[in-house]
Amino acid sequence: QQNRLNTAAEAPQATATPKPLNKLTLALDFTPNPNHTGVYVAQQKGWYREAGIDLHILPFSQNSFPDTLVTQGQADVAFSSTETIVLDAAKNQPIVSLAAILSHNTSVLVTRDDGSIKRPKDLDGKKFGSYGAPYEVPIVSTAIKHDGGKGNFKNIILGTDAIQAVITKQVDFAWVFGLDVEQARAQGAKLKTFSVTEYGVPDYYAPNLVSSEKTIKEKHDLLQTFMEITQRGYDYASKNPEEATKLLIAGAPQGTFSDEKQLEQGQRFASSHYEDEGMKWGVQDAKIWKAYVDFILKTNSVTDDKEKPVKALDSTKLFTNEFVK
């Protein structure tokens, strides 16, 4: 199948003599956003189709976890995150990271820029608006403790957009992707951020593209093709943020974006983090994986399917660089 991957010039020929397309389903971790751009670029450019892949992007919904869709075999690949991969592994629902979307952890603690909070330490006793995931509290309190605080705060589970809750003063801080902050700023929000990696939280990959061991085994060649093209998509988006923004808008369901300026700023941020200088997009480092696993297991927040804390986990099984050589 690999040799079917031809140059764009041959594409018209390929469509003239239709070859059998192989269906591949992809699940999203959020409404379409610049983390997903590479996929949308490749799809809009017709690269998947040329390579014989009929890509189905499953609609995102708050209640369908992309990793679960993969473990259930309802999706072949999905956007997820290192936190979730570890969580699932502990619950005996193994998924494998095929690629890191961004080279580094861009997640931040975000608060209003009104001078009341100057450093993570000041967040002690404040209201934290969370998604309700089990890894949030340990990570956030690590950052606060690292800055000399006690790491105690009120954990309020919002279920809805955390940045909005911060802006409207319903909570004092939240933990989000750097991308989210860029977009909120584009909307005019005045926000202050603390990068968690600067405060004792290891650098790890989020989001990631994941798949299941079963799919990797059964659809190996198809995945290989998919990942190569996806890599091309992210390469393109890395180099042409403006063009990529347009393709993202065109590819995402109608009505996803209400504000293009906001999106452009987010895309510029994401494009600058897709691949570090001199590195290929998606490649992951075993040391980084081990660091996160060690870190999060120590907090006792990762539990098995009997809800008992997990003490050890083989981090090398959680990812592969096989598809992004």
Binding site: F30, T31, L58, P59, F60, S61, Q62, N63, S64, T68, L69, Q72, Q74, T160, D161, I163, Q164, I167, T168, A184, Q187, P253, Q254, G255, T256, F257, S258, D259, Q262
Partner: protein, 267 residues
């Protein structure tokens, strides 16, 4: 006639206007963050601006709703009939049906997705799950409401159970059925929205989710407006259907013989 229309709906209109005006003032003067509460005018502008997109999503949701409602009606009718005809089935199912109403849909989402995928299926199923209960209960009540003497009469005519059902019990249960359908129709669009959290590409619920994540609050409110209109539309449609299907029912409850109101003793 015209005057009575105004005196009937006038107060509600005026109150609605006052509330809208108050809202407008509050958002303007109270310096409210439009991310939290957009002004009514802003919602209207958004409605106009996003009309094409909104329309698309609305059509999808409407389709889910109508299909779901139709299937729910069929299921409810069949179930009500079976429960009515077979005592054991009824005593076995009724308590469980009531119990089932206390289960939040969220829990079923993953299952529905696995069994039915991402197409319209699971959303329609959620609408059915929401709507069939009030219709079933209304149908059973209606069928039960047949006066015992009427059944006696039919039995004395040697009517079979099916004839009793067809000639007397079903037609007699129709008014009750329609009142159940009215309630179901009102809630059906909200049910469809819930169904969309199972996973969907289109629909007002999805649009709301997009808008929430994009912090486009005016769009969220615009979707709510459309949703309310959908509910009202379906409600009105059922009422229309009822008037067409049961001319005898409404001519009775309204005024009797034209002009002559001499009400002779009847009971």
């Amino acid at each position: 006639m015209k005057r009575s229309w105004i005196s009937l709906y006038g107060p509600a209109m005026i109150l609605a206007l006052v509330l809208l005006l108050g809202w407008q003032m509050y958002t303007r003067i109270g310096n409210v963050n439009p991310l939290v509460l957009p002004a009514p005018t802003e919602i209207i502008t958004t409605l106009g601006k996003s009309w094409d997109t909104l329309f698309d999503h609305t059509v999808y949701t409407l389709m889910e709703t109508v299909l779901g409602l139709a299937l729910a009606t069929i299921c409810a009718l069949v179930l009500a009939l079976i429960m009515d005809l077979v005592g054991v089935v009824r005593r076995a199912l009724y308590p469980l049906l009531i119990l089932s109403q206390t289960i939040p849909i969220v829990a079923l989402a993953p299952l529905l997705r696995i069994w039915f995928g991402f197409d319209m299926g699971p959303k329609i199923l959620v609408v059915i799950l929401f709507c069939f209960f009030p219709i079933t209960v209304a149908c059973i009540d209606g069928l039960e409401g047949t006066p015992g003497d009427l059944i006696k009469l039919l039995r004395s005519m040697k009517a079979s159970r099916w004839q009793q059902l067809w000639f007397v019990r079903l037609p007699g249960a129709l008014p009750s059925f329609f009142s159940g359908l009215r309630i179901a129709a009102t809630y059906a669009p909200i049910a469809a929205i819930f169904g969309e959290i199972v996973g969907a590409e289109k629909g007002l619920g999805i649009f709301m989710q997009f808008s929430l994540n994009a912090r486009a609050t005016a769009q969220v409110f615009a979707s709510i407006v459309i949703l309310s209109l959908l509910s009202l539309f379906l409600f009105g449609f059922v009422i229309l259907l009822e008037r067409l299907a049961l001319p005898w029912y409404h001519s009775t409850t309204a005024s009797n013989r034209d002009g002559d109101n001499v009400s002779r003793k009847s009971k």
